[in-house]
Every structure is written in structure tokens, then in C-alpha cells.
Subunit: 140 residues, 2 copies
DNA sequence: AACGCCAAATAGAACGATTCTAATCTTATC
DNA sequence: GATAAGATTAGAATCGTTCTATTTGGCGTT
């Protein structure tokens, strides 16, 4: 019995967004959304895709990640060192950044209340709130 | 009566840190610390220095900003787009990021409690907490 | 004031992550 | 299966930043 490669779930997501279900987008959607919440970089996802046998260029990975962002399927996380991470968890939450390992983890309880923020200055509106807790290994 | 260019305050700061009071470091310290809290980028500070008649290279601005960080005179703020800002406000606080203007402002009341964060995972310690509230102009 | 040592400053090359460009290939439609 | 619009591609270009090798400058000693 063969492995099912129809990517039903990914198909459905793409249909929702109106993006054409190309081989690359399907494969990337599958990697991103069919295994629980993830934090990926473009480079990371690209090499993962290549390993899994999906032929896709780095430029397309960038394009696709941005399109998924636009479509509201992903969130961006910005942190030190120019590296951008993409997060499949759409709930409001914070992040632990394990600096020594360059890895991200959701903070279960962000410990801050978005609604408790002071009203933003006149003529502006809040578009995102990022809470990043940077961690280093304790030297022993 | 001539303008006083001895930069007393800057001199004092450099003495405290043990960094040699070179012309460049004095000038930059003066720009950074003698006019209230500031948020600067390396590029921004460099062009400001040039305009004010201080001859300094971009590399030196980067070096100096990092040395001031090491010395605890500055904090770094990381946000989208690979651009790093340096902040002279050393108190714990959050930031508004005016995305349309690419400008930073301190958030008077951060609206979160650092102590309310869950204990970090075993073997790690919190080295920084960044709270960034991104704002966009309201289209009217 | 001249000497010399070493830290600091410099220009420009190198770098990593990302975006752009122009050509080629796919997909959906007729 | 021809067509047009959209998607993918390799590689060049860009941005902010760091590195490198060389020159300059601060400062304690003669």
C-alpha cells in the first residue's frame, strides 16, 4: 500500500487562500501545517524540503512564506541577528528564544496582557505585539 | 565667547568605562548621552556625526556602539528588517515601533510584568525581555 | 618635544539573509 | 492542445553588518 501524497489538508488550505495549488506550495504547506506548530526559517524549510524530495528553489520558499503570511496562515517573528522565523501558531503568545541553540519556543502564558497596554498614540493602531524572552544556558 | 567643546559629561562616562577618550568616542558619546534618551541606528548616528563635523567612519560607529553596549551604557533593540536600534534608556521598558516612519518610542508603562513570566526551562536563564508594539498609521 | 608601544580608527572587502530580475515553465481555461 | 496569466527559477543585486589589514593617534617614558 502506497504512501498517500495527495496532501488533502494542504489542498484545503490553499483553496481557502485562493493561491494556486502548485507542487511547491502544496509540499511546503504540508511540511508547515501537517505536523503541529512549527518555527522555521526560510533556509531551514528549504533544506527540509530538499531532503524530503521536493524540488524547490530558495526564492520560492521566500515567496511562499510571504504569501502564507499575507493569507494569515503564518506569523513572523523577528529577533536579533537578521534571521526571520515563521510561526504556524496563530494564537497570541510570546516566545522563548534559546540564543545558544538559535531555537524558538512558544511561551505558554505570555505573562502580559495585550489589553492592558496603554492606548496607542492618536492616529495609529496596534498591528502586532511581540514579546521575546531571550534565554542563555546557565554555565555550570 | 566660544562654544565649550570639552564634553565634560562624555569624558566622565568614558572614564567610568575605562575606554580611551578618543575624539570619535567623545563625539559619539556626546551625541548619544547629552540630549536625553535616544534611539539610534548605526547609519543614523554616523550621518549625524558627519553633519556635526565629527570625522568618523561607519566601522568605528559600529565598534563604538558595541563597546558602549558592553559597558552597559546602551541597550539594543531588535526588530523587523534586520535593522538594529540602540537605546540610551537603561530602565526596563517596552517600545512602540512606528512602522510607517521606522521610528521607536519608549512605552511609558510596558503593560507587562517581567516577574510574572513563567520560570524559564531548566538550565537556562533569562537574559533579556523585549516587548515591541508595532503601530501603523490609521488610514483615514 | 621626540620615541615607541599598543589601542583605536580606517577603507574597503566580505558576509549572511533577503529581495529582485528577467527568462522559463505550469496551471487553468477555451 | 493552444493560450494567457501566474508561478518558479538561477543568479545578480541589495541591505545592514562584520572582518581584515593597514594607518593613525593617545599617552607614558626619555
Amino acid at each position: 500500500m502506497e504512501r498517500d501524497e495527495t496532501y488533502e489538508h494542504a489542498q484545503k488550505l490553499l483553496k481557502m487562500t485562493g493561491l494556486r495549488p502548485t507542487r511547491q506550495r502544496l509540499g511546503l504547506a504540508h511540511l508547515l501545517f501537517d505536523q503541529g506548530n512549527r518555527h522555521v526559517t526560510a533556509e531551514g524549510l528549504h533544506s527540509e524540503a530538499c531532503k524530503s524530495g521536493l524540488s524547490v528553489s530558495l526564492a520560492t520558499v521566500y515567496n511562499t512564506l510571504h504569501q502564507f503570511m499575507e493569507a494569515g496562515l503564518l506569523n513572523q517573528v523577528n529577533l536579533e541577528g537578521a534571521r526571520t522565523y515563521f510561526d504556524t501558531n496563530l494564537e497570541p503568545h510570546g516566545h522563548y528564544y534559546f540564543a545558544d541553540r538559535r531555537e524558538l519556543m512558544d511561551v505558554p502564558a505570555p505573562g502580559f496582557d495585550k489589553t492592558a497596554l496603554p492606548a496607542p498614540p492618536e492616529g495609529t493602531q496596534i498591528t502586532r505585539v511581540d514579546v521575546i524572552v531571550t534565554l542563555h544556558d546557565v554555565p555550570k
